[in-house]
């Protein structure tokens, strides 16, 4: 059954009509880590949408807590049909820092061990995470992934994380770059550089 108001179709065939004004930010999926080694968003699995439905996808990270001292939060992707999470990427990474004692500040490009030049490793997104003994510390942030289903262009992303870091540092890490492939990406995985982690990751599509 459909519903038409004043000549305008409001809903039909079990969905709101596409011409109806509604929010552009659509929640797709929330995954919660509980001493998890990885969290993976794969198009078509567990109601995840990561295809050409949206031109931009937004991941949000809520209180990611690394359970191993100095672990860094990372991500990688697979093209359609891929399984190894080893897509080639070139990235930039810079950070700003201030410690709790007020005795140290820094704005700098990240170490070459944290960015990638046509590398296939997981990309660091954060600074060194808190140890398990610092239960109140966490990392929050976002990643914007642009047009992952394109088969013409490289796939760009932009991330920003703020960390309550080991050794009492407040650190903001900004990473941007591209997966240097024209194949469509349909799967994204998050992990710690070592050990497991807790926290929530939400995926949104932007119409």
């Amino acid at each position: 059954m459909g519903l038409i108001s004043d000549g305008t179709t409001i809903f039909d065939a079990g969905a709101l009509d596409s011409g109806l004004a509604k929010g552009a930010l659509t929640f797709i999926k929330k995954l919660s880590a509980s001493t998890s080694n990885t969290l993976t968003f794969h198009n078509g699995a567990s109601s995840v949408v990561l295809d050409n439905t949206y031109k931009e996808y937004l991941f949000t990270f809520n209180n990611i807590h690394m359970n191993t001292d100095s672990a860094r939060f990372q991500f990688q992707a697979n093209v359609v049909g891929g399984a190894d999470f080893n897509e080639t990427m070139t990235t930039t990474l810079w950070h700003s820092q201030h410690n709790q004692a007020g005795s140290f500040t820094r704005l700098a490009y990240g170490s070459t061990s944290y960015d990638q030049a046509e590398g296939t490793a997981f990309q660091n997104l954060s600074s060194a995470g808190p140890a398990d003994g610092n239960a109140e510390r966490s990392q929050v942030g976002t990643i914007r992934l642009f047009n992952p289903s394109s088969t013409t262009f490289a796939k760009h992303f932009i991330s920003e994380f703020n960390d309550a870091e080991s050794d009492d540092y407040c650190t903001t890490v900004r990473v941007a770059g591209y997966f240097n492939t024209t194949a469509a990406i349909d799967e994204v995985r998050f992990q710690g550089s070592t050990g497991n982690f807790n926290g929530d990751i939400c995926l949104y599509g932007i119409a």
Binding site: L3, I4, S5, D6, G7, T8, I10, L20, A21, K22, G23, A24, L25, T26, K55, E56, T90, T91, T92, L93, W94, L107, A108, Y109, T112, D115, Q116, A117, E118, R144, F146, N147, S150, T152, F153, A154, H156, F157, I158, R174, A176, G177, Y178, N180, T182, I206, A207
Partner: protein
């Protein structure tokens, strides 16, 4: 026909009632470039809303492919036709080359000091024009219809660049203000030299 549930109007006159939560981010307009000299969003033209309806507007750049190796730039108008508003801005960039021959963060000379020219929002190496290269990013405009304050903006972009024959990841961060208390009624985007070969620019309103 309208629909009223438990005394609350859900829809009437062909639209969801304004009291029903529908999300705070609204897609206003999508423009698609095809060898375009400029793309313009002007309040009241072609269903564009750029007035006091929203306090924040967001432009999204999806795979902007340039015909020549030149930067994406923008300007604003107060009369709908002359895009030449005085602005002061700051800019910096982070870059990393695919062959790992260079990585840096630095202040960028694309800033403006009370200038009326178009503001570059990509910075770093020259923009690559390979078939798989593109520009992505966001531009926030705050309270453009205000007649008391200057009008602030901030942008984050990332793109595939080129220096000699080496490709690179570049991210640009530009912020500033249009130094006018007149309401801004439109924005125009172009490439400093040559056309926008292809790509999408979306305009959203944030409640």
């Amino acid at each position: 026909m309208g629909v009223i549930s438990n005394g609350t109007t859900l829809l009437d006159a062909g639209a969801i009632d304004s009291g029903v939560p529908t999300g705070s981010m609204t897609l206003i307009k999508t423009l698609t470039a095809s060898s375009s000299g400029t793309l313009s969003f002007v309040n009241g033209a072609s269903n564009v809303v750029l007035d006091g309806t929203y306090k924040q507007y967001v432009f999204k750049f999806i795979d902007i492919h340039t015909a020549s190796s030149a930067n994406l730039e923008f300007n604003a108008t107060t009369n709908g036709s002359d895009f030449n508003i005085t602005k002061t801005s700051n800019a910096f960039y982070a870059g990393h080359r695919e062959d790992a021959s260079g990585a840096a963060i630095g202040y960028s000379g694309v800033d403006e000091a009370q200038a009326t020219g178009f503001q570059q929002i990509t910075t770093g190496d020259n923009v690559a024009i390979d078939n798989d290269s593109s520009i992505v990013g966001t531009l926030d405009i705050f309270n453009p219809s205000d007649t008391t304050f200057v009008k602030h903006f901030r942008s984050t972009t990332t793109f595939m660049g080129i220096d000699g024959s080496v490709r690179s990841s570049n991210s640009g961060y530009v912020a500033g203000y249009f130094n006018t208390t007149s309401a801004l009624t439109g924005f125009q985007f172009k490439i400093r030299s040559g056309n926008i070969d292809s790509g999408i620019i979306k305009l959203y309103g944030i409640k």
